[in-house]
Amino acid sequence: MRVIAWLVEGTWPACVDAVRAHAPDDAEVVLLHVTGPDVPGVAHGAFAGLLGRGHPERDPGTRLEALGGRSAAGILDAAAERLGRPCAREERAGRVEREVVAAAEGADLLVLARDGDRSRLGPRSLGPAARFTVDHAPCPVLLVWPEAAPGLATIPPPPHHPPHHPPHHP
């Protein structure tokens, strides 16, 4: 059995804990981190806006790309330590949600954390990246709350049925 745990800054410990709780002992575990291009891209753009002040080697976008690689390695290290059993590490770069779906091909389980508004139960608890991944995953998915799930009381009451129409008075 091949289990992929998609790790994201801020929410990855919950995914690692879910693997520990739910993956069989003999499962092959892959810790996956995907670095998106958007954050260094923003810095590249800001530097370009300076119109050539400073030299190209000082482009902060390039420094962010290097720092991002180190940061991803740090997360994978910390996650492997928290997992406490043999695992493989996979670092990918590109459009995050598509890279995750591609990495999940042929897997038996994909573990990911909700990345949206986690103050209430509901569809908004998934951000765009997790939503795309859940909708397109080519394998079974285990979707976890990064922290304790909110209570059932956070679900709004059902809409009144049938819709109320005021009586018509001539």
């Binding site: 958007d38 806006g49 300076l50 420094r63 991002g68």
Partner: protein, 385 residues
């Protein structure tokens, strides 16, 4: 690129030699001022100021994203105002990214904050932005009066950005890895850099009282920090010259001459009709909006060069309204303007680059709101001061 263009403009008679010489003489002190501020920021980095900023932010935020965003707003605003937007983009942004990554916080809102504040927070002082230096020379304002008039617009524009960011990035700002509170070692205080920058700021105030060109004060501050680095062998004369970006200084001079040629040959008539007259609130709003649009089309540097001669006769209020537009406006377009985008073909250089849709959505929320409140604040300041 601009230097040969300036040569062509002079050679073909598009601009008379006298006008070109006058333009160069007008821009000379501005360019010198800019060089001094660039050197000042570079050697603040050498002294460890930005590393210390990272350590301060990490300790204050303790791994909580909203607190980190607040810290980034405070530091990026202060650094942009005092050491110019270049310092925030080139020197602070990597530190902010590293701090976020190290403390388990998603870096995106914080890096976006750096780029937005490098524009929005560059309203306060003449040294904050090259556009300000150009306008400062044209406005006839003293250093202190410029800062006094721009203080309120600066604050409310940053406040508007902060509210937009809290809402726009609400999802990213709730995600924090529990226990990832690596606050790092206690920061050493880069006392020498802080004192030099503080003295330079005080020097601006004193110089404006005595009518001394503030560029000299900036040069003195830059010389102190560069001199110390030279003595301690942390720099060579070559690194000092490189820090001043001589190629860019030549570019600014040439750009000024090219723009003057374009303005002389009819652009001033066209824009003069579009630019609202007077300094009432509707006129100021119109001026700022026009300046913001122009900045997004052709970059804020040429935009301010084009608009200044047209706005200056209406008084300091109109000049400052132009500045609000050209400084806040570039947050709307990736790379600051469509012209830069096309010219450098960034889209092709970084094929898998930034999500332009998200960038533009954020700009469409942040730019009109911060620009509107800033113009109202400027109008209020002009009434009171």
């Amino acid at each position: 690129m601009a230097v040969p263009a300036a040569g062509v403009a002079i050679a073909t008679g598009a601009i008379s030699l006298d006008h070109a010489r006058a333009e160069a003489a007008r821009l000379g002190p501005v360019v010198g001022f800019l060089a001094a501020v660039l050197v000042l920021a570079h050697f603040c980095d050498v002294e460890g100021l930005f590393q210390a900023c990272g350590a301060w932010m990490a300790r204050w935020a303790r791994g909580r994203p909203v607190r980190l965003l607040t810290a980034v707003f405070a530091l990026a605003s202060a650094i942009t105002a005092v050491l110019s937007l270049d310092a925030t983009i080139v020197l602070l942004t990597p530190v902010v990214f590293a701090t976020a990554a190290r403390t388990g916080v998603r870096p995106k809102p914080h890096v976006y904050a750096c780029t937005h504040l490098s524009n929005t927070a560059s309203l306060l002082l003449p040294v904050s932005n090259l556009t300000n230096l150009l306008a400062f020379a044209a406005s006839g304002l003293s250093f202190t009066r410029f800062a006094a008039l721009m203080a309120l617009p600066w604050l409310v524009a940053i406040g508007a950005e902060y509210l937009v960011f809290r809402r726009f990035f609400a999802r990213d700002l709730t995600a924090a890895a529990p226990g990832a509170e690596d606050t790092g070692p206690a920061p050493g205080l880069p006392l020498f850099a802080l004192v030099t920058v503080g003295c330079t700021l005080a020097g601006f105030v004193v110089a404006s009282v005595f009518g001394v060109e503030p560029a000299w004060v900036a040069a003195a501050g830059a010389l102190v920090l560069a001199g110390r680095a030279l003595v301690r062998r942390k720099a060579t004369p070559l690194t000092v010259v490189r820090a001043a970006a001589p190629a860019f200084l030549a570019f600014v001079l040439a750009l000024g001459i090219v723009v003057r040629a374009v303005v002389d040959n009819g652009l001033s008539d066209v824009l003069g009709r579009a630019l609202p007259g007077g300094t009432g609130l509707p006129a100021l709003l119109g001026i700022a909006a026009l300046a913001a649009v122009l900045a997004n089309l052709i970059n804020n540097l040429p935009a301010v060069l084009v608009l200044l001669p047209l706005a200056a006769p209406a008084g300091a209020g109109a000049v400052l309204a132009v500045l609000l537009g050209v400084n806040i406006g570039p947050n709307l377009t990736y790379a600051g303007s469509l012209a830069t985008l096309l010219w450098r073909r960034i889209v092709h250089q970084h094929e898998h680059g930034v999500d332009l849709g998200e960038f533009t959505r954020l700009g469409l929320l942040a730019v009109p709101s911060s620009l509107a409140v800033a113009v109202v604040a400027l109008w209020g300041s002009l009434q009171v001061l």
